[in-house]
């Protein structure tokens, strides 16, 4: 046990200092004496050794003094600690004695307390045992009394209940017997009534069987009547289609003929009305399953499709088209697409405010072309959208549930089914309803394709359904087409189908025919002149007698068609005919037609001079020149004020003839033909070119 050093334990430097100092002084004296006493020669070394020895002595004396002082301090501390230990031992002995005394006192106290508690416990136990015995005797007595009382009460209760039971049993038995009797009686009555009912039902059954037979007969009749009405409607619709197509062609020709702006405005108005009527006829035809409209011989560009659709609705001026697409729809499907679009546009225009615009967007996608029609009119609810989509899906082909306003959607449904269009409705961002119509890729044609073999293949592959449709139509009890026409009409109409099929090939072979013509001399010219005659006649501008006897053998179809148009008020195959008509000369005809008058004039006046003059310019140059000249002349004549007054001239078909030779008979003819009309001048407005020229010269 080492206690920390007390301050007095370590010897202080002050207590150490005197001894080394004294030693140093003594050593210095001794060294000095030794140096002085030593020989002169060894004085240096002696001094050095003396000084070193003195220093070592001083150090040794210092260390020794330090050790002595430390030992003295340690001895003092040891004595103090020894005294402490003795004191502590005495204290422990005292404490041990105190503890033993305390223990003895507590033990005695505990024994006394235990003896007192044991006495108390014994006393209490005795008292409780006495109480318990008294209580047990009292309870036993009470129990006996209660048992006797309960036995008595139980006997009384049992006697009473037995009596009640007997009385109840007797009463219930009586009631049961009465009820059984009543039920037996009712059962007998019910049985009698049911047998009567059965007889009556048997009679009803016989009556219903008879009724069912009668209704079946009536259903058959109604079905027959429906089929008949349907075919009659289809027939009428076909006729109406043909009429409107013919009227549209007439109107188009008149629009070219009449240059007065007032007349043109009226003609355009009529044109618009007729186009709408034609759409209605097309709708009826589609709904009755007849053929749809006319077929185009060539693909129709998307712009024309959209404008054709617009032209058939009332509010076409509110339709805005946004389209940069150059894609075209194959000829056989163009009419259907146009018709479906027209119905969608009509819906959009009708169900939007009269001033709101309807926007049409065309977008080419890999699957085809999407035409979206967006209006800002009524917002269709979810249920209405679903119903409209169901209507345009073409799933239900029945005519039931058609109403006047839903007609268009049903038509769209039929057309979608036929041509694979997909129509869907959605709310439009413009606030109204948007319709998306997907025109599938297989009825689309690239714009430059018509003359490529691929387009020809398309046309020929799509042609068989055409003949199939017409064949199935002619098989129906009341066919809408050729059989109702006059006899001379039928071969022409039937001939139109194969020629329509052959169309691309004939078009392709035409350039080969072209160079051979000039070599034939005069003959090709008459050939051309004949075709010029028949082409406007096929348009059906006005009835003409001169075009009928003229047909050349090569154009017998067009000639007979033209004659049929004039004879028959119902030019049924007109919707098919433009294909062969344009087929005769699809590209060169329009340009040449304007030169027709001059060519005919030359031919009728002097064939020899014509033959002499012809070879000098090439045929193409002459045509171009005459076309430009005649258009100029027509335009000049249109603005001449006395043009309408002098408009009793000949028709376009014979306008090339000189007035002094053929003018009178033809005007007579016109008057006889148009004696019913109020204003023959306005109808036969197209005059010979010579009449205005005569006015100019006079």
């Amino acid at each position: 046990m080492t206690s920390p050093l007390l301050p007095g334990d370590r010897p202080t430097p002050r207590s150490l200092l005197p001894v080394p100092l004294l030693t140093a002084v003594l050593a210095a004296v001794a060294v000095t004496a030794a140096v002085l006493l030593g020989p002169e020669s060894a004085r240096g070394a002696l001094a050095v050794a003396g000084v070193v020895a003195a220093l070592l002595l001083c150090a040794a004396v210092t260390v020794a003094a330090h050790a002595v002082l430390s030992a003295r301090a340690a001895r003092g501390r040891l004595e103090a600690v020894t005294q402490d230990v003795g004191r502590l031992l005495q204290e422990r002995a005292r404490l041990t004695q105190d503890a033993r005394r305390q223990h003895e006192w507590l033990t005695g106290e505990l024994d006394r307390e235990r003896a007192r508690l044991s006495a108390d416990l014994e006393q209490e136990r005795t008292r409780l045992a006495e109480d318990l015995a008294a209580e047990r005797d009292r309870l036993t007595e009470q129990h006996d009394a209660a048992t006797a009382r309960l036995a008595r009460e139980h006997a009384e209760e049992r006697a009473r209940l037995t009596d009640d039971h007997a009385a109840e049993l007797k009463r219930l038995t009586g009631e049961h017997t009465a009820h059984t009797d009543r039920l037996t009686q009712e059962h007998a009555e019910e049985q009698a009534r049911l047998s009567g009912e059965r007889d009556r039902l048997a009679q009803d059954r016989d009556r219903l069987i008879a009724e069912s037979a009668r209704l079946a007969a009536r259903l058959r009749e109604a079905n027959n009547a429906r089929a008949t009405a349907l075919s009659a409607t289809a027939n009428a619709a076909g006729r109406m289609q043909a009429l409107s197509t013919g009227m549209l062609a007439d109107l188009r020709a008149m629009e070219d003929k009449h240059h007065d702006e007032e007349v043109l405005a009226d003609l355009l108005h009529l044109d618009h009305r007729t186009a709408q009527a034609g759409r209605l006829a097309d709708s009826v035809a589609v709904l009755t399953g007849a053929r749809s409209g006319r077929r185009w011989a060539r693909p129709i560009g998307m712009e024309s499709i959209l404008r054709g659709a617009m032209g058939r609705i009332n509010g076409y001026q509110r339709v805005r088209v946004h389209s940069t697409s150059n894609i075209a729809v194959a000829g056989h499907a163009a009419e259907g697409v146009m018709h479906a679009l027209a119905e969608l546009l009509d819906n959009a225009a009708n169900f939007s405010p009269p001033t709101a615009e309807v926007h049409v967007y065309v977008e080419e996608v890999p699957a085809g072309v999407i035409v979206s029609v967006e209006d800002s009119g009524l917002v269709m609810g979810e249920a209405q959208l679903r119903r409209a989509e169901r209507a345009v899906s073409g799933e239900s082909t029945g005519l039931g549930g058609l109403t006047g306003t839903r007609l268009g959607l049903a038509v769209v449904g039929r057309l979608s089914r036929r041509y694979g269009l997909r129509v869907s409705y959605r709310p439009s961002a413009r606030g109204g309803t948007g319709v998306l119509m997907l025109v599938p890729q297989d009825i689309l044609v690239e714009p430059d394709a018509p003359r490529t073999p691929a387009a020809d293949a398309t046309t020929t592959t799509t042609a068989p359904p055409v003949t199939a449709t017409s064949a199935s139509l002619t098989g129906t009890p009341a066919p809408s087409t050729p059989s109702t026409s006059p006899a001379d009409e039928t071969p022409a109409a039937t001939a139109s189908e194969p020629s329509a099929l052959r169309l691309p090939r004939r078009r392709g072979t035409r350039p080969a025919d072209e160079p051979a013509r000039p070599a034939d001399g005069v003959e090709p010219e008459t050939h051309h002149a004949t075709s010029y005659d028949t082409a406007p006649a096929e348009r059906g501008t006005t009835p003409r007698a001169t075009s009928r006897p003229a047909p050349a053998p090569g154009h017998s179809y067009a000639a007979s068609r033209a004659g049929a148009d004039d004879l028959d008020p119902d030019p049924v195959p007109t919707h098919e005919s433009p294909a062969p008509g344009t087929d005769a000369s699809p590209l060169s005809l329009p340009r040449r037609r304007r030169g027709r008058t001059l060519a005919e004039a030359e031919r009728t006046r002097s064939a020899s001079r014509t033959a002499a003059l012809r070879p000098a310019p090439t045929a193409e140059e002459t045509k171009a020149r005459t076309a430009r000249f005649s258009s100029f002349r027509q335009a000049v004549r249109a603005t001449t004020p006395d043009d309408t007054a002098a408009g009793t001239g000949t028709t376009a078909g014979t306008s090339g003839t000189t007035p002094d030779r053929t003018d009178e008979p033809q005007s007579d003819e016109l008057q006889t033909n148009e004696s019913q009309t109020d204003e023959p001048q306005s109808i036969g407005l197209q005059t010979t070119p010579t009449t205005p020229e005569g006015d100019t010269t006079s």
Binding site: D256, E261, D271, W296, S304, G308, G311, P578, P586, T696
Partner: protein, 115 residues
Amino acid sequence: MSRPGRDDAPDRLYTLTQGRSRSGPDNPFDLVTLVVAECDPVPGMQSEHAAILRLTGRPTAVVEIAAELELPVSITRILLSDLLAAGRVSARHPRKAAVPDLDILEQVLVGLRNL
């Protein structure tokens, strides 16, 4: 040519002009007005407008345009006024000297009759 034959296209004349059938009173086009294109056709244009712009690369008379398009002159004039209003064509009248006098016309007529 966009229209190879009469009534061989489904679009009706009134759809070409949005229903207008007469040109405005200040329409500068008469039959012999020369029309020159001021720009090239752009995609998205009405096909007749594009055809007119192609035709009038050099000065062309209104009647010639009408003949080439096979449209009535009135309709052509409406189309031309649209283009003029948009600044895509310019129009000018031929000089007076270009119109021959009536004597020459009469002589031409006589000559034509003698053909």
